[in-house]
C-alpha cells in the first residue's frame, strides 16, 4: 500500500502478507518414510526399492571404485558420513530389469543414460557396476572419459598405428583399475590369448598365454600399455563371443570421445581430436554391436564436452552425428531429478547421518524450502545441505 506524505515523499507501508503458506507449516522435525533397504545385492533390486538407500561395504567400494567411478564430492561425502550408501532409483532399476532379462545370444544391447549435469548418472552407473560384479560379469569400466581428453598426462605418437596417439600413463592406470575390479574373477575364469602379440623384436606374448600376463606387461611397460589395452579389449570381445565369459562395458562421459577438441597438441600446435587416440579406437570397437554375451551401458553428460556444446543434455546433441551413428540403435534412459519420495528419502538419510544439522531445516517447512530452492536436483540439494 502506498502512502503520500505532506512533502510528497512516498513511503512503503508494512502489510502482513496473508498468502504466505509457509508459516502455517509445523516447525517440528519429521522423518517421512523408511529410507533404507536391507537388500544389499543389486541383482534383486526392484520397483519397491525405489527411493531407498542400500549400503556398499568398504571392501566392495575399494575393489570397484578405487580407480574412479564415484563423483569426487559424492565420494568425500560418503567418507564423512561413515559409509557408502547409494539410493536405488528408477533408471538403475530399469537397467537391472533389462539386464536380468537379456537374451545374451543376441547382439549386445547398448543403453545410454542421459540427463542434466548432477542428476545422478555417474552414481547410477556405479550401481550397475556393482550389479555386474555380483552377476559375475567381467567389468570394462572407464570412470570418466574427459580425463583422457582434457587432462592427459602425456600423449605420445603411436608406433603401431600411424597418425594416432597413445596414452601411456592413463593406460597403465586403467589396466591397474581393471585388474583391481576383476582380479578374483579373472583368476577363476583363466582366459587365454587367441593371438600372438609382438611388442618388439625379442618381446612377445604367445598364443594361449593367460590374459593376466598381458595385463601385467601393460602395467610394467608404459610404452606398450595402450596397445595392451587394445589387445585386452579385443580378447575380451572374442572370449564373450565364444561364451567363455560375460562382459559388462560401463563408460561414463562417452560423448567425450567425440569432443570437437582436446588438450593434446602436435608439434605444430594443431589440436589432436579424440578420434585420433588409440584408446578411442579400442573402446569404440568394443561398443559396436558386433558381438554378443554382454551389455554396454554408457552415459552422456554436457559437462564432458567443452562449454560450447552444453546447450542440451539429450543424447543426439551430446553424441553428435558421428557418435550417434556409432551407437545407433541404443536404448536411451533418462536420469531425472528426484521425485518427491526420493527427495524425502534423501533428506531422511542426511538427517539420520547427522549431515543436515539445522533443526528448522529438518521440519516440513525446511523440506519445502530445500525442495524449492534445489528444484529437486540431486547435486544442487547436496550443495545446499553441505554447509548446514
Amino acid at each position: 500500500m502506498i502512502r503520500f506524505s505532506p512533502t510528497g515523499k512516498v513511503f512503503r507501508v508494512w502489510r502482513r502478507f496473508s498468502s504466505l503458506s509457509a508459516n502455517t507449516m509445523p516447525l517440528t522435525e519429521t522423518i517421512t518414510n523408511t529410507f533404507r533397504t536391507n537388500e544389499l545385492d543389486p541383482i534383486n533390486h526392484r520397483k519397491d526399492h525405489d527411493g531407498r538407500f542400500y549400503s556398499i561395504s568398504q571392501s566392495v567400494k575399494k575393489q570397484l571404485f578405487s580407480g574412479g567411478g564415484l563423483p569426487k564430492e559424492y565420494k568425500e561425502l560418503s567418507e564423512t558420513l561413515n559409509g557408502l550408501s547409494i539410493m536405488v532409483r528408477k533408471p538403475a532399476i530399469e537397467l537391472i530389469t533389462y539386464l536380468n532379462k537379456t537374451n545374451f545370444d543376441a547382439p549386445v544391447n547398448r543403453y545410454v543414460l542421459y540427463g542434466k549435469t548432477g542428476s545422478g548418472k555417474s552414481v547410477s552407473l556405479a550401481h550397475i557396476l556393482h550389479y555386474g560384479s555380483n552377476a559375475g560379469m567381467v567389468l570394462v569400466h572407464v570412470p570418466w572419459v574427459p580425463n583422457w581428453v582434457r587432462f592427459p598426462k602425456g600423449c605420445t605418437p603411436s608406433v603401431i598405428h600411424p597418425n594416432k596417439y597413445d596414452h601411456p600413463i592413463e593406460s597403465v592406470e586403467w589396466l591397474r583399475h581393471f585388474s583391481t575390479q576383476n582380479g578374483p574373477l579373472m583368476q577363476k575364469l583363466e582366459l587365454k590369448t587367441t593371438e600372438t602379440y609382438a611388442w618388439s623384436k625379442r618381446e612377445m606374448t604367445a598364443v594361449g598365454s593367460p590374459l593376466s600376463e598381458l595385463i601385467d606387461l601393460g602395467m610394467n611397460r608404459a610404452k606398450h600399455a595402450t596397445d595392451c589395452v587394445t589387445a585386452l579389449l579385443c580378447e575380451l570381445k572374442k572370449a564373450a563371443l565364444s561364451k567363455r565369459c560375460r562382459v559388462l562395458v560401463v563408460i561414463d562421459g562417452f560423448n567425450s570421445f567425440f569432443s570437437p577438441k582436446s588438450r593434446v597438441r602436435r608439434e605444430d600446435k594443431s589440436i589432436v581430436l579424440p578420434t585420433e587416440f588409440v584408446l578411442t579406437d579400442a573402446f569404440l570397437s568394443l561398443t559396436r554391436n558386433d558381438w554378443n554375451n554382454g551389455a554396454i551401458v554408457v552415459s552422456v553428460d554436457a559437462s564432458a564436452h567443452p562449454s560450447e556444446l552444453r546447450e542440451s543434455p539429450l543424447p543426439r546433441y551430446q553424441l553428435g552425428k558421428q557418435g550417434f551413428e556409432h551407437l545407433d540403435p541404443f536404448i536411451p534412459i533418462e536420469v531425472p531429478n528426484y521425485s518427491e519420495k526420493e527427495f524425502h528419502s534423501q533428506i531422511d538419510y542426511y538427517v539420520e547421518r547427522n549431515w543436515l544439522q539445522q533443526p528448522k531445516a529438518r521440519t516440513e517447512r525446511g523440506r519445502a524450502e530445500l525442495s524449492f530452492t534445489s528444484g529437486n536436483h540431486p547435486l544442487s540439494l547436496m550443495k545446499l545441505v553441505a554447509p548446514y
Binding site: R3, F11, R12, V13, W14, R15, R16, L20, A22, N23, T80, L81, N82, N354, W355, Q357, Q358, K360, A361, T363, R365, G366, E369, T373, A386, P387, Y388
Partner: protein, 234 residues
C-alpha cells in the same frame, strides 16, 4: 520559515536529519541515513511476524513507514543474522557471493571434522559431548572471543595512556569477528581461508586458540593499566 525547512531545501543537507536542540545547536540524529528518524526497521522473520499479530502489536504498526528490505534479509530456515554480519565482514570489494561461499565452506569443514570425531567415538556419552551444528559452534566461538573491556588512548600531560574503558555489545561482537577473520587470513599457501576459519572456530569453541588468546591478552593489558582508569573522566 523554520531552520529545518531551510536546511531541507539545500541539496547538500538532503541526506542529513538534523534537529535543533534547546541551545540552538544542530545535533545530528542519524548522520548519512536516507531515512527520517521515525522510519522503522523491517521485521522479516515469520515467527516474529506471527508473534506481533498474536500480541496485537501488528495493528499498531499498520501505517508506520518501514525501511526497504535488505537483500540478505530472508525467511529461509538457514538464515542466521550473526552469520550474515560475519559474511559482510569477510566480504571484500562487494563480492558477497565469494564471501558467502568461503563462510559456508568453513561450516561444511567444521561439520566434517566434528563428524569424523563423532563416528570415531565408541560410547553414547562421548557422542553426546560432540557438538555437530556449525552455527551453534560459531555462536559459542564468537561468545568466547568477545572482550569485556577495551583500551582507548587518552592524552594527559604530553603522554598518551592506554586506558581501559567499558565496551558496548556491538563493539565486542565486531572485535571478535574482526580478530577471527584476521587470524584466518594468516596462513600457509596451501591452507585456504575456509579451512583455517574452521580450525579457528573449533578452537575458539573449546576456549583455546589464537583468537581467545588475543582477547585474554587484551584483558591482561586492561588489568595492568587499571591505574589509569580514572583518566577517563579527566
Amino acid at each position: 520559515m523554520s531552520l529545518f525547512g531551510v536546511l531541507r531545501k539545500l541539496p547538500s543537507f538532503n541526506a542529513i536529519h538534523c534537529h535543533i536542540n534547546f541551545l540552538g545547536r544542530i545535533a545530528r540524529q542519524q548522520p548519512y541515513s536516507m531515512y527520517q528518524p521515525f522510519v522503522k526497521e523491517p521485521t522479516y522473520s515469520i515467527e516474529k511476524l506471527d508473534q506481533l499479530i498474536e500480541s496485537g502489536e501488528a495493528k499498531k504498526r499498520e501505517f508506520v513507514p518501514v525501511k526497504a528490505a535488505r537483500s540478505d534479509h530472508n525467511v529461509s530456515v538457514f538464515h542466521d543474522e550473526l552469520t550474515s554480519k560475519f559474511i559482510n565482514m569477510v566480504m571484500e570489494k562487494g563480492h558477497k557471493e565469494v564471501a558467502t561461499k568461503l563462510v559456508e565452506t568453513a561450516y561444511m569443514k567444521i561439520k566434517q571434522m566434528q563428524l569424523a570425531k563423532y563416528y570415531k567415538a565408541t560410547t553414547d556419552a562421548e557422542r553426546a559431548e560432540i557438538e555437530l551444528n556449525p552455527i551453534v559452534i560459531f555462536h559459542k566461538a564468537l561468545e568466547n572471543c568477545k572482550p569485556v573491556l577495551q583500551l582507548t588512548p587518552i592524552k594527559r600531560g604530553g603522554a598518551t595512556y592506554q586506558v581501559p574503558i567499558p565496551i558496548t555489545e556491538n563493539r565486542a561482537r565486531f572485535l571478535a569477528m574482526k580478530w577471527m577473520i584476521l587470524e584466518s587470513r594468516e596462513k600457509e599457501r596451501t591452507v585456504h581461508f575456509p579451512e583455517r576459519l574452521a580450525y579457528e572456530l573449533l578452537e575458539a569453541f573449546n576456549n583455546t586458540g589464537k583468537v581467545v588468546k588475543r582477547k585474554q591478552d587484551l584483558h591482561k593489558q586492561c588489568e595492568t593499566n587499571r591505574a589509569y582508569a580514572h583518566y577517563r573522566w579527566g
